[in-house]
């Protein structure tokens, strides 16, 4: 079995668990590779078209290759009033990419997120689902520097 087959196999006993399989694949690859998506469709008995429909429905799932670090900037109202727009510009400048893009070295992908439920300490960004609180321009530099 290939690596992704093993990953999918690990979720096979979860009834309807294709989304769990997608999560597991993303934990490994940061996105869902095409062949893995097809395999997951087979394993869960749904059509490939449907599996693709599912994968593209959820904003946390990606069917295109992303960077090793997926940075998501929360843009919901509480973060918005805490200066999310300005912070987003900072991140774009720091990485030299626009939202939705991946850095040339394949290290960072920048995305927007809706509320991540950490509104006690806005603005919030997440990197590979790990939240960072009260992010300021200064903090941002440290955070990015920590991404090896």
């Amino acid at each position: 079995m290939t690596e992704y087959q093993v990953i999918i196999d690990g979720c096979k006993n979860l009834k309807g668990g294709i989304i769990e399989a997608f999560h597991a694949l993303q934990d490994k690859y940061n996105y869902i590779p095409a062949e893995a998506l097809r395999e997951a469709a087979r394993q869960f008995g749904v059509s490939e078209a449907e599996a693709y429909g599912v994968a593209t429905f959820y904003s946390y799932l990606a069917v295109e290759k992303r960077g090793r670090y997926v940075i998501r900037m929360c843009e919901s109202a509480p973060c918005h009033v805490a200066g999310a727009d300005e912070l987003l510009k900072e991140i774009e400048t720091a990485l030299g990419i626009k939202t939705g893009e991946t850095t040339a070295d394949g290290k960072f992908t920048l995305e927007l997120a809706q509320c991540v439920g950490q509104c006690q300490a806005t603005p919030v960004i997440t990197i590979n689902s790990q939240p960072y609180f009260n992010v300021t321009k200064e903090k941002l530099k440290e955070i990015l520097a920590d991404c090896k």
């Binding site: 429905f57 904003s59 109202a77 509320c115 991540v116 509104c119």
Partner: protein, 408 residues
């Protein structure tokens, strides 16, 4: 904190939410024990009598919801909605972080009432660490024997606000696109895998152990009579204490902001408060002396909803905030029904136009009619609620819109 009434969060940070034994030490799983000693009808009656209403958007009586589940079905499911996606809301996370076992006990009480053997917790994808915590908690509860033969599986969402809608959530657990189903049939009759299913959120379930332990009358006596109990609220925005509190439901909104919240940040003046998350109405100063309970809020055209409280100070541009909110709904519309899919898109376009100073008075009319049709005709609560922030600000803060319009 003064004025709080902590029920769900009484032992916050004193017990390990993962550990059933910690919870048992402070009286946990007594409610379940009692529930199991009762016959099902009495149990449901007891929950009805407590007056517990869903701590989500609809505020439906929990016991009543359970009573719709047909007895004859072989398989029934208990599903916990832990997809709190309303921006500014994190109270279910707090309840789990502080008292996860109460959630499990609550689910088990529901399972006892409807005779279910399988539960699911649908945890939002933004909380992968909560999935770990809950898995540990379930394992511990199973090991302690407290849950008996009731199993709980944790499923993770993947970034779709609409999955907070119970039928979309069910679709998602089934591995589908999280598109809401039309109702009827309601999940109580045909839910997960077409079996009768009770869906409640974390906070609702977490109330149950205390209702059973202390009695329905005790619970019914807390807070507002028509919506008894406590409510965990989360404060965000221009507020001195941006944190969470548990308060009785007859607590005044003004007190939430000025007593618990410590007032407006940096000594500025109040402008508006949005309660219940992003789909909630904006409330002006004149309505602040309203208790936060479901019906009182409804009476001023607002909703308690998730209990999120977003405070805006005098310097805030309401139109800008609402424009941002309209972008949220455009992003989160599932796209299934026409009014919501197209409506949220056009709402955002018009709001952006207004916010950019490029709109004319007719655009306000367009927003008004669009809002009305979305509310009237959208398939699910998302599309129906999406225009509320626009509607409410057009009502109370029209001036802010008007001054951005091009007038000839």
């Amino acid at each position: 904190m003064a004025n709080e009434k902590r029920v769900l969060l009484e032992y916050a940070d004193q017990i390990d939410p993962r550990k059933a034994e910690d919870y048992i030490k402070v009286g946990g799983y007594k409610g379940l024990e009692k529930a199991r000693s009762m016959n099902r009808r009495d149990l449901i009656e007891e929950v009805k009598k407590s007056g517990l209403r869903g701590r989500g958007g609809a505020g439906f009586n929990a016991g009543m919801k359970w009573s719709f589940v047909p007895q004859y079905a072989d398989t029934k499911y208990v599903v916990c909605n832990f997809d709190e996606g309303e921006p500014g809301t994190y109270k279910d996370r707090i309840i789990c972080e502080k008292n996860a076992q109460a959630l499990l006990e609550g689910m088990a009480i529901c399972a006892t009432a409807i005779d279910s053997k399988q539960g699911y917790i649908y945890c939002r994808g933004e909380y992968p660490f909560m999935v770990k915590l809950l898995n540990d908690a379930v394992q511990s509860a199973k090991a302690s024997g407290a849950l008996g033969d009731f199993d709980i599986e944790i499923r993770m969402g993947a970034g779709a606000y609409v999955c907070g809608e119970e039928t979309a959530l069910i679709e998602s657990i089934e591995g589908h696109r999280g598109e809401p189903r039309f109702k009827p049939p309601f999940p109580g009759v045909s839910g997960l895998w077409s079996q009768p299913t009770v869906v409640n959120n974390v906070e609702t379930f977490a109330c149950l152990p205390y209702i059973l332990t202390n009695g329905a009358d005790w619970f019914a006596g807390i807070g507002a009579a028509s919506y008894p109990g406590t409510k965990v609220i989360t404060l965000t925005g221009d507020i001195e204490n941006p944190t969470y509190f548990e308060v009785p439901t007859d607590y005044l909104l003004r007190d939430v902001i000025y007593k618990l919240g410590g007032g407006i940040k940096d000594g500025k003046k109040f402008k508006a408060v949005q309660v219940g998350g992003t789909s909630g109405a904006f409330i002006p100063e004149q309505n602040l002396d309203t208790p936060i309970d479901f019906d009182s809020m409804a009476a001023i055209g607002a909703s308690l909803g998730s209990g999120a409280v977003l405070v805006l100070d005098e310097s805030r541009d309401i139109v800008d905030v609402v424009t941002r909110i309209s972008k949220f709904f455009e992003h989160e519309s599932c796209g299934k029904c026409n009014p919501c899919r197209e409506g949220t898109w056009r709402c955002r376009e018009i709001m952006e136009r207004i916010n950019a100073g490029k709109a004319c008075p007719e655009d306000i009319e367009k927003l008004t009619v669009l809002s009305r049709v979305m509310k009237n005709a959208a398939l699910c609560g998302l599309g129906q609620a999406a225009p509320i922030p626009i509607d409410s600000t057009l009502k109370y803060f029209k001036q802010e819109y008007s001054c951005k319009l091009i007038t000839l």
